[in-house]
Amino acid sequence: MKDPVRSWLEHFGAFNPALPQHWVLLMLTDSILLLTLMTIIFALMAIILRLQFNRRERYWQMLNSKWDKDILDVLSGDRDIDDFRMLVESGQQLDFIRFLAPFAYRLRGSDLDILSQLAQPHLSHVEQRLQHKSPGVRIWAINILGLFGMPAKEDAIAALLTDRSPAVAMFAASTLLSHQRTRFVVPVIEQIHRFNKWNIHALADLLVRSGPKAIPMMINFYLDVRQPARTRVVIAEALGRCNAYSALNSAMLVLGSDTNRDVLVATMHLLGHISQGRHTDSIRMLCNSPDEVLKITALRTLRAMAVQSDVPLFRKALDDKNSWVARQAAMALRDLGDVAHLQALAARDDHPRCMLARQILAELPS
């Protein structure tokens, strides 16, 4: 196809193919036309987006005014659930679910049951969204089915544990475990390696939601040295958060035999929750570890269960060059009532731990 600009220039005798500057001119003219067209398209796009948004806002206001009073009537028992169902027209099912969700996030018990009953007839539309190409939409569908569709939709959600998007898999796991579906604990733990970029505490909180029945399964994975260290760390943190006293012997076994630093640190966190002052010798040994992370964790763990005979150990640690080690030691001395030693340090302006001692003393209850 011939360039229309060129034809136009040729028509006026303003284009000579033999002259290079005419080609440059042609190129520039074409660019200007193309850019003008793009500018118009972008402007139209912005206007259309704004109009769409305004229309959607008006539509949403209309739906809100239509459903808002009725939902309160249903919740207060003044109106029957079946009457309300009639108000949801075809094509409005997903909007109705979007309308219900904010109420459901705030309500519990029988009120939430009423909302779930209202949502039931429309959940098949949400279930279709589990296959949507956008991970954001899939996450939304998981959240909604978790709110209104459990346990009926749990297998549909569980299928997403192996979703190509780790975020979707994470939300599927979170939803299943939040409803304490113990049969999904093992599949979720087997997927933890895929969540390798997620914060360990977030993952531990996830496992905690599975409830006490999951503890034996978690301990098995924790003891299994073939599992990735990160999985075992997450489980140890989760066991600590559930105060899983049955994990005490397993933790002592790991502390005495394992060499992975992250697993050891997590194990000490676990012991901090469950040991109740027993089996502290292994922790005391780690207070002298050349590894600073292990040393800090050991001091922090011991602090919670220390006895008067530990004062010399903490006084020594207070002089450690690492300020985090010193901070743990100072807090332990404060907890053990060794205030005189801290006061003596606080009075010495030239001492490197003077400011630390002052802060710890200032935190004492007056």
Partner: protein, 475 residues
């Protein structure tokens, strides 16, 4: 080929490459923003706030002569929705009544606080804690500059993450919950930048921006459009390549230990003083992590908003733009070894050349190009005149197209300016800025290059009106 012709070709090459990059980043930003908006709907803040996932954060707010805004800004920082955080206001030897106003407003008492790192900083005069809100601390120190104040704040940070903000910025309530997301979702994250928006013209009520409007001042309006292009198109696009190169000093969240390992902010006392301490830190984080072969991610999130007051006079805006240019050049020339160095991967091959050559040295080429074109215009005959005219026309239309695209990005995502009249104003501004404002900006940036070459180190004064003057205030 004559030197003038060579210069002309260089200018055209620069123009084509620069705008190609703008287009590519804008198009990528378009799809990323769409995805981001959907995810935000699916995964509301309330879920995060109740999750127990959120790590403690220390907000560091350096304040120098901020008596007009410090109390309001601190109220806004204390009103954030986040489970566990502290606010550390570092009074950088203010000559006005910043400290007195803080003492009066928050009932401060002297209190000791331990340090977690030991960057050399100007002398500490006092440490105070608020009796009313114990998570507010004020550190009073000798004047040492913004970077020095940030290092002081880092020294006193006890949480794993710290958030650097300007004392004159207002954060939205959800800002921390949103900016922390990348840290939760990716444990390799070491820093995250948020979006900065212009507060001039909007209403502030109890430290919260309530009625968002376009600024009444024309210069401020141009800056609204510029911020759209920079934050929605530019940074969002670069983020897709894991090439976030700038985190604004007005709002960024950092992993404390990684920053400490990288040496903190650059100051006279740490051996390198720059007015672009925010850019320099991010470049150094890239450098250190890549040299240590440590997996890392520096992210940008387009939604957590920090509102800031922008300059409304040519003089102050000139100072600001010139300083930004100088800061960019100081930071990039300090790490020039990264340029096109395979050791630094995509940063060395993509982001660094873009920011150093196209953004840093660009004004020299732009200005030289202007001169060359004018030379050709008056000496090259009618053919050259037509060519030059067409070139300028294409530059004009291209500038408009990019601005319109940036407006679309705002429309597809956040729609902060709700009135249709604001939208039409933005379109009009896209046209108007081509007549004078863009050229002034180029001139200011060139001045920044000149001051960089002269080795000037001053910040220059930024006149603050306070949130009650240029900005409407209620309550």
């Amino acid at each position: 080929m004559t030197p003038i012709e060579i210069l002309s070709f260089l200018t055209i090459g620069y123009f084509v490459v620069l705008n190609l990059v703008y287009f590519i980043t804008s198009i990528i930003a378009f799809s990323r923003l769409r995805e981001f908006s959907t995810t935000l709907d699916a995964y509301p803040d309330s879920l995060l706030l109740s999750s127990g996932f959120l790590p403690p954060i220390t907000i560091i707010a350096p304040a120098y002569n901020e008596e007009a805004t410090c109390v309001e800004s601190t109220h806004s920082l204390l009103a954030l929705e986040y489970p566990e955080y502290e606010v550390l206001v570092v009074n950088d030897g203010s000559k006005d009544s910043t400290l007195a106003r803080m003492q009066e407003a928050f009932d401060l008492k002297p209190a000791p606080r331990m340090t977690s790192s030991s960057f050399p900083t100007a002398g500490i005069r006092g440490i105070y804690q608020s009796r009313r809100t114990p998570n507010l601390w004020v550190i009073d120190k000798e004047n040492g500059g913004k970077a020095d104040s940030l290092n002081t704040g880092i020294n006193y940070t006890l949480s794993p993450l710290f958030c650097a903000v300007d004392a004159d910025s207002l954060l939205e309530k959800s800002a921390l919950t949103r900016i922390v997301r990348p840290f939760i979702e990716n444990s390799e994250t070491v820093a995250v930048g948020g979006i900065i928006r212009i507060i001039n013209g909007s209403t502030v009520q109890d430290g919260v921006v309530s009625n968002i409007r376009m600024p009444p001042n024309l210069l401020a309006r141009f800056q609204v459009l510029e911020y759209f292009r920079a934050f929605l198109a530019g940074r969002m696009g670069w983020e897709a390549f894991n090439c976030t190169f700038i985190i604004s000093g007005a709002f960024g969240l950092f992993h404390r230990q990684t920053v400490v390992d990288a040496g903190g902010y650059s100051t006279k006392r740490t051996g390198f003083e720059t007015v672009g301490e925010d850019i320099e830190l991010v470049v150094r984080l890239h450098r250190v992590c890549l040299e240590q072969k440590r997996p890392y991610r520096i992210s940008y999130v387009p939604d957590p908003v920090a509102w800031t007051e922008c300059p409304e006079s040519l003089k102050v805006l000139h100072r600001q733009r010139s300083r930004w240019q100088r800061g960019l050049l100081e930071s990039t020339t300090r790490h020039l070894g990264m340029l096109l160095n395979p050791r630094y991967g995509r940063i060395g091959w993509l982001a660094f050349p873009y920011y150093f050559i196209l953004e840093g040295l660009g004004p020299i080429l732009e200005f030289a190009g202007f001169l060359a074109f004018f030379w050709l215009l008056f000496t090259g005959g009618p053919g050259s005149f037509l060519l030059t005219f067409c070139f300028f026309l294409s530059a004009f239309v291209l500038g408009m197209a990019l601005s319109f695209l940036a407006i679309s990005l705002e429309e597809i995502s956040f729609k902060r300016y709700p009135n249709f009249s604001d939208l039409s104003q933005l379109f009009l501004l896209s046209v108007l800025e081509c007549f004078g404002y863009r050229q002034l900006n180029a001139w200011w940036r060139l001045h920044g290059v000149y001051t960089f070459l002269r080795g000037k180190k001053e910040w220059g004064k930024m006149d603050r009106k306070g949130f009650g003057a240029g900005i409407k205030k209620q309550g």
